[in-house]
C-alpha cells in the first residue's frame, strides 16, 4: 500500500519490538544487512531468529550484538570465510538457545505458516539427534498407511516479521524478488515483511508482465525502504559480489569480544556505515 514506503532502514527497525520472532534468508538470497545494522543500532533485544533455512553474517552479527536469545537454524556459517565466531562464542558462554533443524524442515514449517495450517508432515529426520533434541516436533503414524510408518510433524512457523532485501519496490509497496521464491514463502508465513530494496521505482511492478512473476504484492509488506547496496558486504543476486576483504576483516575482528565491539563501532554504530557501503 501507499503508506508502506519508509524513509530508511532506521524507520523499519523501529517497528521491531524486543522479543519479536523474525525470519531471515540465507546469505545468498537477499539479506538486508542495512536493516540488520539498524536493528543493532536500535539495540533490539531477545529476538527469536528463524533462519530460513540457514544464516551467516547477519545471524552472527545480531548474536554478537546481544540481540538474539533463541536461534532456530539448520546452520550458521560464513562459508568460505570460516565458522561464525560470535555464534560459537555465544554457545560457549551459554547465552544463546539454539534450536538445531534441517533445511527442509524449516522450509516445511514456513510453508505450513504460509498455508495457515497448524503443521506439516515431512519425511526423514527419524533417528537423528536433531529430532531427539526438538521437543516441539512430533512423530506420528502416517494415517494413510496400513503398515507401520512413522513420520515427523513440524508445527507451523508464523514469525512476527520476515526481513529481507529485494531488488526494487514500487510506490504501492510491491517488491521484486525474482527467482528467490523462499522469500515469498517467508513473507506468506510472517505476519508482515520489512524490506529494503536497491531502488524504489515508478510504475506498478504487478502490472508489468516482465516483473509480475517475480513480484511479491504489497499485501505482505509492512514497510519498505530504499537502501542501495543494502546487502553489503554480502553478495546480492547478480547485482554485486561479496566484499571479500570486508568479510575477512569481520572474521578476524569477531574472534574476540573486543575486536567485535571495535567492528561494530567502526561499521555499524557510527555514521560511516552507510558511506562504507557506497
Amino acid at each position: 500500500m501507499a503508506d508502506a514506503i519508509r524513509s530508511s532502514a532506521e524507520e523499519l527497525a523501529a517497528m521491531v519490538p524486543d522479543g519479536a520472532q523474525i525470519a531471515v534468508p540465507p546469505d545468498y538470497s537477499g539479506v538486508s544487512m542495512e536493516l540488520t545494522r539498524a536493528l543493532v543500532r536500535r539495540g533490539v533485544k531477545n529476538l527469536h531468529l528463524v533462519c530460513v533455512p540457514v544464516t551467516g553474517l547477519q545471524g552472527d552479527m545480531l548474536i554478537g550484538a546481544g540481540a538474539v536469545s533463541t536461534i532456530e537454524t539448520s546452520a550458521v556459517t560464513l562459508g568460505e570465510f570460516g565458522g561464525a565466531p560470535r555464534f560459537q562464542a555465544a554457545l560457549k558462554a551459554g547465552t544463546l538457545k539454539v534450536k538445531d533443524a534441517t533445511c527442509p524442515a524449516v522450509h516445511a514449517a514456513i510453508q505450513a505458516g504460509q498455508k495457515g495450517i497448524p503443521y506439516m508432515p515431512l519425511r526423514g529426520m527419524i533417528g537423528s539427534d536433531i529430532l531427539a533434541n526438538r521437543d516441539d516436533w512430533l512423530v506420528q503414524q502416517n494415517p494413510f498407511s496400513a503398515d507401520e510408518d512413522p513420520i515427523v510433524l513440524l508445527p507451523a512457523l508464523r514469525p512476527d516479521f520476515a526481513i529481507f532485501h529485494g531488488l526494487k519496490a514500487d510506490r504501492q509497496g510491491n517488491v521484486y524478488l525474482g527467482i528467490r521464491r523462499e522469500l515469498f514463502a517467508m513473507a506468506g508465513a510472517a505476519k508482515q515483511s520489512l524490506v529494503t530494496v536497491e531502488e524504489i521505482v515508478e510504475g506498478n511492478l504487478l502490472e508489468d508482465d516482465a516483473t509480475a512473476a517475480g513480484t511479491l504484492s504489497s499485501i505482505y509488506v509492512g514497510g519498505v525502504a530504499e537502501a542501495r547496496h543494502g546487502a553489503w558486504p554480502l553478495p546480492f543476486w547478480n547485482e554485486y559480489a561479496t566484499d571479500d576483504a570486508h568479510m575477512q576483516g569481520y572474521v578476524a575482528a569477531a574472534r574476540s569480544d573486543e575486536g567485535f565491539a571495535e567492528y561494530l563501532r567502526a561499521h555499524v554504530l557510527g555514521e560511516s556505515a552507510q558511506a562504507a557501503a557506497e
Partner: protein
C-alpha cells in the same frame, strides 16, 4: 609414448577425485552438489559431459547450472518427489555405520567444538538413492568409531521410510562402498600411491577389506582432457579460486 591411461604422477589428486565421482554418478538423471563443493561439483559437470546431455546438474551457488526457480525448497522437493538421484554429504565426523555429525564434538548443545550445523542432511540422506560421502581429510579425527552427534543416521529400521542412503565414500586415500544391510563400509579401491595400511591407520572405525584390494583406476587421457579443458572452465564460474589453483593453465588460456 602416450598410452590411453596416464601415469599416476600425471594426474592431480583433485582430477582423480573428480573422475571417481563422475563414475559414481553414471546413469543418473538429476544430480546436485551443495555449496562449498568444488570437487563434487566438478564430478557432476564431468558426468554430465559424459552423459551426452541426459544428465541434469544443479550446483548451488552457480548461475549457469541452476535449475531451481521455486526457491531453496525446490532441491528438497526434488528429493521428496524421487527426482534427485545423487547428492553429496560431508561431515565433521563420520562413523563406521555411516552416521554423520555436522553439529560438533562433545556434548550437545554445549559442544567442545561447534560446527555450522546439519543443513539438509537429516532429510536428503533418507531420500536420495546415491548419497556420496566426500571428505578431503582422511583421518581418525574425521572417521571415528561413533559420532558424538547424529546429524543424520547411515541406516534406519525397516519401518522407517527410506529410499536413499550412503552409496559410496570418496576420500584422498580410497573409495569405499557401504553395505546397508550390515551397516558397514568396505574398501573398494585404494588410490595410486596409497596403501591399505595407510587407510587403516587413518580410519577410526572397522571396515571390511577384501583379500585383493584393487588400485583405483586412473581417468583415461580422454577423460583427463575433458576435465582439464572443459570442466575446469565450467567449475570456475562458481569456484574461481579452486579453478585457479588446480587448473592454472586452463584459466590462463581462457
Amino acid at each position: 609414448m602416450n598410452p590411453a591411461r596416464p601415469s599416476p604422477d600425471e594426474v592431480k589428486p583433485e582430477e582423480l577425485l573428480i573422475a571417481i565421482i563422475a563414475r559414481l554418478l553414471e546413469g543418473c538423471r538429476l544430480v546436485a552438489a551443495g555449496a562449498s563443493s568444488p570437487i563434487p561439483g566438478g564430478g557432476c559437470l564431468l558426468a554430465r559431459r559424459q552423459s551426452g546431455g541426459a544428465m541434469h546438474v544443479n550446483i548451488l551457488g552457480s548461475r549457469a547450472n541452476n535449475l531451481m526457480t521455486n526457491g531453496g525448497v525446490e532441491l528438497f522437493d526434488w528429493a521428496g518427489q524421487g527426482r534427485l538421484d545423487a547428492f553429496f554429504l560431508g561431515g565433521g565426523q563420520i562413523d563406521g555405520q555411516a552416521n554423520i555429525n555436522l553439529v560438533g564434538t562433545g556434548d550437545y548443545p554445549n559442544n567442545d567444538i561447534r560446527w555450522p550445523g546439519s543443513f539438509g542432511s537429516a532429510y536428503l540422506y533418507y531420500l536420495v538413492p546415491r548419497v556420496i560421502l566426500f571428505r578431503e581429510e582422511h583421518s581418525r579425527r574425521v572417521f571415528v568409531p561413533k559420532v558424538d552427534f547424529v546429524s543424520t543416521p547411515g541406516t534406519s529400521g525397516k519401518d522407517i521410510y527410506r529410499t536413499g542412503g550412503p552409496y559410496a565414500m570418496v576420500t584422498p586415500l580410497c573409495l569405499m562402498g557401504f553395505d546397508t544391510a550390515r551397516a558397514r563400509f568396505h574398501l573398494k579401491s585404494v588410490h595410486p600411491g596409497h596403501t591399505v595400511e595407510e587407510v587403516r591407520d587413518n580410519t577410526g572405525f572397522d571396515f571390511d577389506v577384501p583379500d585383493d584390494v584393487p588400485e583405483t583406476v586412473l581417468p583415461d587421457r580422454a577423460t583427463l582432457d575433458e576435465i582439464r579443458r572443459h570442466v575446469s572452465l565450467e567449475i570456475a564460474e562458481t569456484y574461481p579460486r579452486f579453478a585457479q589453483r588446480v587448473f592454472p593453465e586452463a584459466m590462463q588460456a581462457a
